[in-house]
């Protein structure tokens, strides 16, 4: 129930369409527009001051308000033969949605309360400020101790993603024509059944003010294009191949520089090869994982296991807990000596990058794994003291004005080798292995130990060289075993800033986008399965 966004997430999980956050019918053109124009900054500050004053009067010892506008657009073109006539149909779909509203968070009697509405009027603000504090007080008798917030400075600041061209200013018909021309390129390859191009982009215009004196305005732009070729044979077997340039915080320039026309024919050819490729011979093999694939492996095995809320049991009823419990911090070996992982929300173009988090904490970089040892968690203000820390690492985020901010994954990235190691250098050291590119089906247990990951394309490695394409590959491992089997990383030139745009967590479930930059990496003797 409740808006489409959540049902969509429940069922679709990942994919560019998740950003659109709405249900989509083929051939439909959809636009959401909150009619309220951008409010002048003075008016925003005035409404915020009114909200915080009302919350204080109602008994809040802390309150913040977020007045946020979200706009997202997804333009896609599916080209496939008509079922009856065989004529090539081009089916366009456009969604353009905009939502606007506010949410007030309050601490009263030592407990949290929250209230949100799509109507930004003084009456609604007053009602919500009162309701947030009332909810807090209603829950207070169930608490054993008061919520404690790590200190934060008061900021009056603004942040904006640097963009060269606003993607919302690129006309929809230009985008559709671009995708159609790409689909035509893909379809030129003999054996390709259909082509599907999608460009998703969004902007979050976030205004934050708190009773601690911060007033912060931010505009964050994210963009994610992709193109998929599908091949079908007479036995009705299908295989796909996707070109997905990294989703980034940037403007239309990210699409222009992605050299789609060069890749269109390649993915068509690789889809056809994929269809003809023999199934993998299962067994223990060495793996060389490309950044396009490894990013999601990092997300699932390292990103989620180092979230402090999971480690504390806050997600036990849904997303799960973590094998990295607080007693392991500073001691536990997750991976081999060459493994160094950082968290941040400041790296250029990474999807989680912004100026301040939804607690009003200035974003920064922090270490998570150093020389294979687990050293730090992702945290927010109300958790830091629980592991003896005095400040938050700035990982608080809510996916809507109507959602409660909580701890979300920042960019979590694997540092490259200091040496100039290439992909081929890694492959040269493999006698019997598999090279994996792109994302496939991903599944991991609730404490982030046992996982099984597929990919988008696979090649066998024999005698230190890449051989023919193979199919139906998945690998299973256990997080510490897997990372301790990592004996080779690419250098800086091979490092890529991989973006992931639809991570789900929390109850009610919320989505989040972040990047997992990494070099290609080699893993020894991993269990490989055939998924056919």
């Amino acid at each position: 129930m409740r808006p489409t966004r959540r049902e969509f997430l429940r069922t679709c999980g990942a994919g560019a369409a998740a950003w659109a956050g709405v249900s989509v019918l083929p051939g439909e053109f959809l636009v959401t527009r909150a009619t309220a124009a951008d409010l002048p900054p003075d008016r925003m500050r005035e409404l915020a001051a009114f909200a915080l004053e009302r919350a204080r009067k109602a008994g809040a010892t802390y309150a913040d308000i977020r007045i946020n506008r979200y706009r997202s657009q997804m333009v896609s073109m599916r080209s496939q033969p008509d079922f009856a006539t065989g004529k090539l149909n081009h089916v366009p779909t456009v969604t353009d949605t905009e939502t606007f509203g506010f949410g007030i968070r309050a601490i009263a009697s030592g407990a949290w309360g929250f209230s949100a509405s799509h109507r930004l009027t003084k009456d609604d603000i007053a009602r919500a400020a009162k309701e947030a504090t009332e909810i807090a007080r209603a829950n207070a008798p169930l608490r054993r101790g008061p919520v404690r917030l790590a200190p934060v400075a008061a900021y009056k600041d603004a942040y904006r993603t640097p963009i060269a061209r606003d993607p919302f200013e690129v006309p929809v018909d230009e985008k559709l024509e671009f995708l159609r021309s790409l689909n035509d390129q893909v379809k030129k390859v003999e054996g390709v059944f259909s082509a599907n191009g999608t460009i998703s982009h969004r902007v979050e215009h976030r205004f934050f003010a708190s009773t601690e004196g911060s007033v912060i305005e931010q505009r964050v732009y994210q963009i994610s294009p992709e193109l998929t070729a599908t091949a079908v044979d007479k036995g009705r077997k299908t295989k796909t191949r996707t070109y997905r340039p990294h989703a980034v915080t940037a403007g239309w320039e990210a699409v222009e520089r992605a050299r789609f026309p060069e890749h269109a024919r390649r993915i068509g050819e690789e889809a056809v090869q994929h269809l003809k490729a023999p199934s993998v011979e299962p067994g223990r093999k060495d793996l060389v994982l490309m950044p396009t694939h490894l990013g999601l492996t990092i997300h699932e095995s390292i990103g989620h296991s180092t979230e402090l809320d999971r480690a504390l049991g806050y997600e036990a009823n849904f997303a799960g807990t973590s094998f990295l419990t607080p007693d392991k911090m500073g001691k536990f070996r997750v991976g081999s000596e060459i493994m160094n992982v950082n968290g941040d929300r400041v790296r250029a173009e990474s999807l989680s990058t912004c100026g301040y988090d939804d607690d009003g904490v200035k974003t920064r970089q922090f270490p998570i794994i150093q020389s294979g040892i687990f050293v730090g968690y992702q945290t927010i203000r109300d958790q830091a003291h629980l592991i003896g820390q005095t400040e938050s690492t700035g990982c608080c985020y809510a996916d809507s004005y109507g959602s409660v901010p909580f701890q979300r994954m920042p960019n979590v990235w694997l540092a490259p080798s200091k040496d100039a190691v290439t992909r081929d250098d890694l492959i040269a050291g493999v006698d019997d292995g598999v090279l994996i590119d792109g994302r496939g089906s991903y599944s991991i247990d609730q404490q982030r130990y046992n996982f099984q990951f597929g990919g988008d394309a696979f090649w066998e490695i024999k005698g230190g060289k890449v051989g023919a394409m193979i199919a139906d590959v998945a690998y299973q491992s256990r997080t510490p075993d897997f990372w301790q089997a990592c004996d080779g990383l690419g250098g800086d030139a091979a490092w890529e800033n991989v973006g992931l745009n639809s991570d789900g967590k929390g109850q009610p479930q919320q989505i989040n986008a972040m990047s997992h930059g990494c070099p290609p990496a080699r893993f020894r003797q991993i269990t490989v399965l055939r998924t056919e």
Binding site: M1, G27, V31, T35, G101, A138, L312, P508
Partner: protein, 458 residues
Amino acid sequence: MSWTADEAKKLAQRILSYSKADECEVTLQLNDSSHTRFAANEVMTSGSTRDLEIRISSRGKGKSGTVLVNDTEAAALEAAVRRSEALMAVAPESPEWVEGLGPQKYPPIEAFHEETANAGAEARRGGVGAALEAARGGKLNGSGFFETEATWQALANKKGLFGFHRATEASYSTTMRTEDGTGSGWAGTIAPRITDIRAKDLAATAAKKALSSVQPRDLAPGKYTVILEPQAVADFLGNLGFAFSARAADEGRSYFSKPGGGNRTGEKLFADSVTLRSDPFDARVPGRPWAGVGPGFGGGGGGGMFFGLAALNQGLPAQRVTWIEKGVLKNLATDRYWAQKTKSEPMPFPGSVIMDGGTGTVDDLVSSCARGLLVTRFWYIRATNPQTFQTTGLTRDGVWLVEEGKIVGPVNNFRFNESPANLFKNVEALSAPVPAGRMVLPAIRAREFTFSSKSDAV
């Protein structure tokens, strides 16, 4: 906050009066939801959100343009209609476009309960407190989620079609973990009435599961007879929705594709005891009076579990459908475009999935089992091959070894690599169906379920 049919109709008609396009369709949804979350034996976040969505589609001659707004001011609505018409003007023609429906007769579905709609933080406190008390008293680590929602929805177009529906839903779930971290239990339910949420019983079930799953013994992966509790069945079937698409089957993309062309409707594919149907009129999982997309899509009754199919047939009246009868594939969901293409009848997928069962309980399935594994629920299920239905995922919150009709003790969690099609073929026995995961499902005992590796997670 609430809406009546008259209020919704008035708003819809005002919007339609601005339209200059051949066709115009409006869907409205008002939503009021609130929740309390608890974890680590402490109440955590709690909040309330009100939202409105007004969706306006201008349509004609193969084109459409749709706008969503959340403002009911007349000028804003008229501007929204103009914008949808402007968007329609620049839209290329869609080869899959279908004409809008004329007036439809919608069956009334009673799914709204005042006690759920009016519940606030105070009303949820008892349920949350019951779990916290059980956890703190039992030296367990308790967490959970209690949410109530009310929605008011309407659908209207220029051809005189109008529908109004309101629904409520309360959902409660709790996880209990033992202090040593080796035992974990879960229990939960979703119901239209908050009074049907038995928080104390659910907390006791989760606590009992946690305490009886401590210190699990190591068991090797392999093929086992399984007894899947109704929630485990719900988790497994929740990923099935897309398979019931006639288009996916006809195009060769699904398990129900027939080699050489067409689909496998009419074929006996599963065990005799397998009957799967949709009943939007069942009060335990009430659906919406019409199939649809957009605001309110998903409704009560599990529509959301079957996103791709519920979205196909905006405005067609809800109906009872049998998908599988005694193991025979009877129907596949067909949208109006695909029905035209294949000269068949459109068939909405209304959600409200019900699997028929037997008469006994989970305990009866255990007591008649020679050797097998009892599974509480699954986690992180992903398809690895849609054409074979092959999926992977993990057990969670309690697995027990059963021998000679008795629970011997807890065992480790597993990863499985298995297909719901095999499960349906290998069914041995079913319990009486009960609500689980917005469906009504029995526990299933089935042979030869494939566990591929052990999971250290608890």
